[in-house]
Amino acid sequence: MRPAARLSAFVQDGLRHGHSAEELREALRANGWSEPEIDTALGDWSDQGLRLPVPRAQPSGNATEAVLYALLFFALLAVTWNVVALAFWLIEIWLPEPGARRGYGATRAMRWSMAVLIVLLPLFLLLYRRAEKAARSDPGLRRAPWRRRFGAVTLFLAALVLLGDAIAVVFAALIGDITAQFIAKAGFVALVAALVMMWFRHFLTDVDDAP
């Protein structure tokens, strides 16, 4: 039996024999279990005064949910990537650097990004609305593992992008390469990453509010 399962079984037995959660916590603490481990084990069971521990609802996932969040993640990546790519092309046209010529196939690349956005932006918003509607109608879905994974990976990637952006700005300053075009590009990347972080932060914080 794995340690977590042994711990959960111990809590279940303890509650069944009429011990309170605090008594069990003290006993476990005295035997070297950490607070997070104890919280997790106690969190598996609820004492409803039945002299019988009631299992708490646990996160569960299904294939439909996995497909929904996988599609949502793919659409978010494609939308943000192509918004930034398109904005970079526009910035290069609007704030040209001296002597620079527009690169090979610029308009073709821009039209590709436009096509991606025209198809995937509505799809992304539709999937997001669907996920939120489901979470609102059944708050237990906020604990869904795929939702948490989506939130965690999105926040992680957005944070990496912000860090990379900051490093690029400092590096450009150190080598004396700060131009209006560079500042506009770095600012746009920071804006998109910050909006994504603000938007999807609640995918993780909602978990704590869910019953």
Binding site: W89, Y104, M110, L125, L191
Partner: protein, 137 residues
């Protein structure tokens, strides 16, 4: 939806609209493709004139009209309007080849060398020197 969702969606829509405004719609793209064909024709004509001069030994003043079995003859007229391309050999020996372009967008890299001027639609290029015959031994 959350306010950040509206902000990001609005940003994406604004970027798409700005891109349409900057590069144009399907009509502009079709015009760019026609211009690419015209520039490809001008490049082929330039190479043809170089071949006529260096391989067939045609004199400069006849290069714009001459033909030779030694050099493959490319298209001399705009395939969309039927108007002939403007070919000229300047007194300094530079070739100037012009087409009536519909757009001012930069063409693909392999066509847009330093010899091409998008404002006039002309390629102005000095051909390489004629190869000299090997000296007799």
């Amino acid at each position: 939806m959350r306010p950040e969702a509206y902000a990001l969606a609005a940003l994406a829509v604004a970027v798409i609209i700005a891109a349409f405004w900057t590069v144009g719609g399907p009509g502009t793209a079709q015009a760019e493709r026609r211009d690419t064909t015209r520039l490809s024709d001008l490049n082929a004509l330039y190479l043809h004139m170089v071949c006529l001069r260096n391989t067939a030994g045609i004199a400069s003043e006849e290069l714009t009209t001459a033909r030779s079995d030694l050099c493959q003859s490319p298209r001399r007229d705009d395939p969309y309007t039927g108007a002939p391309y403007q070919l000229e050999v300047t007194p300094t020996g530079t070739f100037r080849l012009c087409a009536e372009l519909e757009t001012r967008a930069p063409p693909p890299g392999w066509l847009a060398g330093p010899h091409f001027d998008p404002e006039t639609g002309c390629i102005t290029r000095t051909p390489p020197d004629r190869p000299q015959p090997a000296p007799d031994r």
